[in-house]
Symmetry: C2
């Protein structure tokens, strides 16, 4: 793993050897998120555009020399990554944006982008000899973590707020996770999970605590660049909750930029729901993050205290990214447009990116000649009740041709 | 399309030129399902094991010369097929079956195997210049049809029994389908759909009516053979409702056998739910099909009158296939085992195949040395309420480490 130089704290900037630390900066505590820094000379000797062109492993592991794992570490058997990048022709026409692409990350094994992070995280768990893993989450991160853990035979312990919807828990339980419904908030579940992982030695996947997740998430950017034959887009839209996927997208393009494979880092535009937009507000005002009481239909980005705030804001400022907000109505409209114009069914948080793009087009933030990618981070089947808010059910008819004709006239 | 010789009626055995007929045999009516017959010499000149090894199109279209479509017909943009075939190591150990593979077809765009059939069907619709398409179904076939139609801008009209669950309709509506909830049974919706398609000129995807769907479904068998480097399994387990997927699996292997690419057709074992097993009963008794009142948790195979009965029984007898039945309890148990041992979440109808394999192992129908594939036809997210029947929810705990410790002891 000598391609990894150090892990660097985003707060105090102190650097550590990978074997020195496990999760966060010992000086800054849980606020000191660590970033993985690479020796790009070493990476360059092990992977190139040419070697990739000949590589028939169409999964995230094709980028192995750019991931923070040992050369011979086993990887989970589930097929993660290399999701379709659609040149969605009908959507292009509808939005009058001929350079539009849709990255459908709901096609991952447990139906969300989070599988990229869980796959890398579980390799780190195995490298440390862990047999038991944990995380706090109600949604995609947890089901993804439980899924890859099951594929390898690791026991998973998941902390969720007691109020988590039953449907979200079904997938977890099917994967054999041990669930702890906590009488309290997500934040309490998060802290309890860290306490428990210390006490019982469980390997922890908590967001913006485990430093390796962003490295998994960045593979979506690596794929976008390779699928576009290294001609990177002008703009990339991505939904934002805790801000980890946002940082992952920046990190992937930054890696390629440092390697000299691409000439510039695309402008990444983070999209938050209006009712849960603390990162947008901080970015807009250039002021410190202030927690909010989140309220949006897009549950996967319904975050009041973005755990990866510091890193996300740094990335936005450093790479001249932007933020936009969208209403729940705009999210539901984007869900309909995406389904009707491309046959892709995204969950509300997953299509917020597209809603943001539509708003940005309207406001002139995107030009018609731009090459633009919208990342759809999760499948709509994850939240069918939200989808039902976006549509209306027609009236029943008698089983006769006349009734069909009458209905068609209505 | 000269690789297609004729369409042959499974009842009267009369053969037709492809341009002569659209759906079923003019003599036998809707009972006369047509089968696509190929000129394998012509196919052999256009595709080979070697040409496939060099083909980087990892979708069902890599088998284009073996599909009943014109050489230059456009195909839908959604990425269909080449789903993972997992050598599910932990499941192998659990079932003491070292030659087991899981084909996860829930990884298709709308999360079920039906996308294979819809993709081929929609190409036929386009070839006929159709702008509007229809089908009757409550489940996977309809959402799949609406999805590929949306990706191409074709309008879809879907007939469903009024009692269809709202959740199943959400996906359809998101894809912009025009839904007709019919005051009546599935059979009435089916017949009304055919009437309406004749009246309005809509291209029809009804199961065992449109002759091209089995050709799409067969690609799952083509992939299994290629993914196993043409060393075909001894046995393939697949869930059975109408019997179309069963015939598709037989057809794929039969094509490869006729081409001389494989030495034998694997034994295909169809699995029905005990509460909806008319094909099993007919096969077992060698008597004609008798309709049943279906009752099973596995809604996608909850079929009382199997529409593809004649062809499915013919295939079972001709290729020495078998049928088994499983209880709803065994289906839910298979769902848990699959999730816990492999990280794959299947819907009840999708995992009935695995439940059948487990029963067959118990009864000595499968030997430990056999190479066996179980096809998982749909993703569990399609029916979360069924999954909740398979698991039980633990009690909520206080947000303290002591409560975690106590819960672990329980």
């Amino acid at each position: 793993m000598d391609q990894v130089k150090t892990l660097k704290c985003v707060l105090c900037q102190r650097e550590y050897e990978p074997q020195e630390v496990e999760y966060t900066c010992p000086l800054c505590g849980n606020a000191g998120i660590l970033e993985v820094l690479y020796d790009y000379d070493k990476v360059s000797k092990r992977i190139s555009k040419e070697s990739l062109a000949k590589n028939s492993d169409y999964s995230i592991w094709r980028y192995r020399p750019l991931l923070p794992i040992k050369e011979d570490s086993p990887t989970p058997p589930l097929h993660v990554g290399w999701t379709p990048l659609y040149p969605a022709f009908r959507l292009r026409r509808k939005l009058e944006l001929p350079g539009l692409y849709i990255k459908d990350d709901g096609r991952n094994p447990t139906a969300s982008l989070k599988d990229r992070a869980s796959a890398v995280g579980i390799v780190k768990a195995l490298e440390r000899g862990a047999h038991e893993v944990t995380c706090a989450s109600t949604g995609n991160a947890a089901s993804s973590w439980a899924g890859v853990a099951a594929s390898l035979g690791l026991k998973s312990y998941i902390f969720v707020p007691q109020t988590a919807p039953q449907a979200k828990l079904a997938q977890l339980l099917i994967f054999g996770a041990r669930i702890f419904p906590v009488k309290g908030s997500y934040d309490q579940a998060f802290d309890l999970c860290i306490e428990a992982s210390r006490k019982f030695g469980w390997y922890n996947r908590n967001t913006a605590y485990n430093p390796y997740l962003v490295e998994g998430k960045k593979t979506v950017a690596l794929e976008i660049a390779e699928q576009l034959n290294w001609e990177v887009p002008d703009k990339v839209f991505v939904s934002v909750g805790d801000g980890c996927i946002l940082s992952g997208v920046f990190k992937g393009f930054a890696d390629l930029f440092h390697l000299g494979w691409i000439g510039r880092v695309p402008q990444v535009i983070g999209v938050q729901a209006e009712g849960a937009a603390p990162l947008y507000r901080a970015w807009k005002s250039r002021k410190p993050l202030e927690p909010v009481e989140p309220k949006t239909i897009a549950d996967s980005i319904s975050v009041g205290i973005p755990r990866n705030g510091v890193m996300a804001l740094r990335d936005l400022y450093r790479w001249e990214g932007r933020m936009v907000t969208v209403t729940d109505e705009e999210i539901l409209e984007a869900m309909r447009i995406l389904g009707q114009e491309s046959g892709v069914f995204g969950e509300p948080a997953g299509v917020a990116s597209l809603a943001g793009l539509i708003k940005a087009l309207r406001e002139g933030m995107v030009e018609k000649k731009n090459k633009v990618v919208a990342i759809i981070t999760g499948n709509g089947l994850k939240d069918v009740s939200a989808a039902l808010h976006a549509v209306s059910m027609p009236e029943a008819i008698d089983p006769t041709l006349e009734s069909v004709e009458q209905a068609l006239k209505r």
